[in-house]
């Protein structure tokens, strides 16, 4: 098209999406976005996925973003359309997921009149987005969209919302290409690519001096891109330092590698948490000292020198005071460190951490993830272990809902690569997993995408199974069905005298029939002998599948650091009892 041809606001949105190389958009139409939906009609570069409720669109965009490393995009209408995505925007903000949400708004002249389906969208979403816009001038629309994408993906990524009144969607202006927009540096705040040499020298000195070092790696490593994982692997191999990852760090380092201690934190491994507790050098790469990870703060890793790599300055010294920090993008900082080691011919003594590794191996011998599988009832841990055994040779992505099944998935499904594990960590959003699986499958059409779910979480966004069926997305919903909100029940058992207030889910649907009614496939395993067949059938069918796996109803998730306890006060099984003083203090925490 000619350079100064005028386009409508709706056409500008589409043109900008094309310019941003967006190929998939999740959404749900409504009055205030009809012009954009009209522009979508009859074009073919952009695939629109019609969800069944807007919450599905935002989680699908998150799943798409996490599994592809690209920005996830969604389109919703004004009022209830956009209030339905508030949870997902908050989720993306907490877990640093780049998404751009377009919302329709009532025409400019009706704003403030309590018009039909009007709400103060920018007001409501201000605290749950990295940034948001209300477009008041059609001439600014192209720049706003390009800036929104840049903000979403740069620095610490996050959700950005653009609210477009209906009259702006009809108004005309000249489109401005992405390459013609100059971003103001103070508004983008991307991470630095240069690292202070003194920081590197200090780190190397401390590694050389240390007797008991540990890497503590989080989602920031993932967000920095796949090269960050490569550099991390190199550094770990060079230094022989053990590594533990947070829930979001899973996959940044191969879980099956001998240097990996597994996940740390509330349901982390014994060896990971004790290493954190007793280390003399902690190297935090892209993690934020979250309360699920630190446990009681005043007892958190009391004797370590702490290094912190985080692109977000506000993460430094927020919860835990650190000794050294850098805000450089992790890929660049790790690369610079590896290069420094190589170019200066620095070598590390293999025996330096001999005692530390033998201590760690003693902790490993506790075998903290051990469970007793009987002949009959399926243990949920076993279900995940079998799922892992039967699918790990495939190109697999795993999403989860939130609760016990999520923690078991984190413990027993071993990830070897980044971006394969998509879960709601910071916000803990039940109902996240299935729509996230839809997004991941859209981004990876030939891969196996499994949502490891609990029956309670699954029911929160159950309507999206219709989306999977409509777009022939062969996602697998692997439900560990224990008829309880398992994690709620576990806390009630441990902290509220086993008074299971409202955590039993009566009147569950028949998940097999439910699947069939949606034209999906239902499979079921009621006992151990049916488990492998159910998994194999689920994986082999090229259609959406709901697998209803009946698991032990009373199983709890261990190890566990109860709220208010420290890393050294871990419960390893139901036979361990919590210190009553901690219990009193922990009860008021989350």
């Amino acid at each position: 098209m000619s350079m100064d041809q005028e386009l409508t606001g709706a056409e500008i949105v589409l043109e900008a999406l094309k310019d941003q190389e967006v190929d998939t958009i999740f959404g749900y139409p409504g009055g205030a976005v009809l012009p954009i939906y009209d522009a979508l009609f009859g074009q073919n570069f952009l695939k629109h996925v019609l969800v069944r409720q807007e919450a599905g669109a935002v989680h699908a965009a998150e799943g798409y973003a996490r599994s592809s490393g690209k920005v996830g995009v969604l389109l919703v209408t004004s009022g209830p359309g956009v209030t339905n995505v508030v949870t997902g925007l908050t989720d993306a903000l907490m877990d640093s997921i780049p998404i751009v949400c377009f919302s329709g708004q009532v025409p400019s002249h009706l704003i403030g009149t309590d018009a039909f389906q009007e709400c103060d969208t920018t007001g409501i979403t201000r605290p749950c987005t990295k940034h948001n816009y209300l477009v008041k001038d059609i001439n600014k629309l192209p720049e706003i969209i390009h800036e929104a994408f840049e903000i979403a993906r740069s620095g610490r990524p996050g959700p950005v919302l653009i609210d477009i009144p209906k009259d702006i969607q009809f108004a005309k202006s000249v489109y401005k290409k992405k390459s013609d927009v100059t971003f103001k540096s103070h508004r983008i705040k991307s991470g630095s690519k240069d690292i202070d040499r003194v920081f590197i020298e200090q780190l190397i000195n401390h590694i050389k001096k240390s007797q008991k070092p540990v890497f503590y790696v989080g989602g920031g490593c993932l967000n920095s891109g796949p090269q960050a994982s490569q550099e991390l692997m190199k550094l770990v191999q060079l230094t022989n330092i053990p590594i533990t990852t947070t829930l979001h760090g899973l996959g940044c380092y191969p879980a099956e590698d001998e240097k990996s201690l597994g996940m740390l934190g509330m349901h982390g491994t014994y060896e990971a948490n004790l290493s954190m507790n007793q280390c003399d050098l902690m190297i935090n790469v892209g993690a934020r000292f979250d309360d699920r990870v630190t446990g009681r703060l005043d007892a958190f890793s009391p004797n370590s020198v702490k290094f912190h790599f985080d692109i977000d300055k506000s993460s430094i010294n927020k919860n835990v005071k650190v000794d050294y920090h850098t805000n450089t993008d992790i890929t660049f900082s790790l690369k610079a460190i590896n290069e420094y080691i190589e170019s200066n011919g620095i070598t590390f003594d293999e025996l330096q951490y001999k005692n530390w590794w033998s201590q760690i191996n003693e902790w490993r011998d506790k075998n903290c993830l051990h469970y007793e599988q009987s002949d009959e009832t399926i243990k949920p841990q076993h279900a995940i272990s079998r799922l892992y055994q039967l699918t790990n040779q495939k190109d697999t992505f795993v999403t989860t809902e939130v609760g016990q099944h999520q923690m078991w998935a984190a413990q027993y499904y071993k990830f070897a690569k980044p971006n394969r594990w998509i879960t709601s960590g910071g916000l803990g959003t039940m109902g996240f997993g299935m729509p996230a699986a839809i997004g991941a499958q859209m981004a990876n059409p030939n891969s196996l995408v499994i949502d490891i779910a609990g029956e309670a979480s699954f029911l929160m966004n159950v309507q999206e199974i219709a989306t999977a069926v409509q777009y022939k997305l062969p996602i697998k919903i692997f439900i560990l069905n224990n008829e309880y909100m398992g994690m709620v029940r576990q806390w009630q058992e441990l902290m509220h005298g086993s008074r299971y207030s409202e955590s039993y889910v009566d009147a569950l649907p028949d998940f097999k029939k439910l699947a069939e009614s949606f034209n999906a496939v239902g499979v079921r395993a009621k006992n151990l002998s049916e488990l492998d067949d159910a998994i194999n059938e689920m994986v082999s069918v090229d259609r959406p599948v709901i697998a209803d796996i009946w698991v032990d109803k009373k199983e709890n998730c261990f190890p566990m650091i109860p709220s208010g306890a420290s890393h050294s006060e871990m419960l390893l099984s139901k036979y361990d009892k919590e210190n009553p003083e901690n219990q009193k203090k922990g009860k008021v925490l989350v």
């Binding site: 920018t122 007001g123 201000r126 605290p127 990295k130 940034h131 948001n132 209300l134 008041k136 903000i151 103070h186 508004r187 705040k189 977000d312 300055k313 506000s314 430094i316 010294n317 927020k318 005071k321």
Partner: protein, 178 residues
Amino acid sequence: MSNSSVYPTPLNTFKQSKRSVLSVIVDNEPGILARITGLFSGRGYNIEALNVTVVDIKDNLSRITIETLGEERVVNQILAQLEKLVPVHSAINLANLKESYEAEICLVKIQFENEQQNNEILSFADIYRARTVQKRQFLVIYEISGTSERINKFLDDLHTISGIKVEKVRSGPIGLGI
């Protein structure tokens, strides 16, 4: 702060905290003030005083001055959170500068009943060099500027005069560093 609030008043909580004056340069765009006040309320920080005005019409910049109470660690966290906001150019704590200067302006309306009160008011106004903005029978409006502390003292002294009615408005501190 009045104790008739339905919320517990935070005065005691912040007793140990230091007073800081933060100076924030922002793009003057819709919603910027809401972003900043929302950040404070959402994260449980404290705003003692707030002042916002456009300072650069050409580049469309505003300067926001915020007086807050908090431990140093908290104030540093506030600055880091402010700097994350997209329209924020810079956020500094004036106390961290080598040299900085503060001023505040206050208007005081005083209603009195007799000549003795008037004389006491006049003597305080003279000591503090308050400027007379308006004077009627039994009513005077003064303007006083300077550090917040100086204004506090003037107001405290006025309150020692019995039987007068005092109404005031304050701009909150503003400041500049060198």
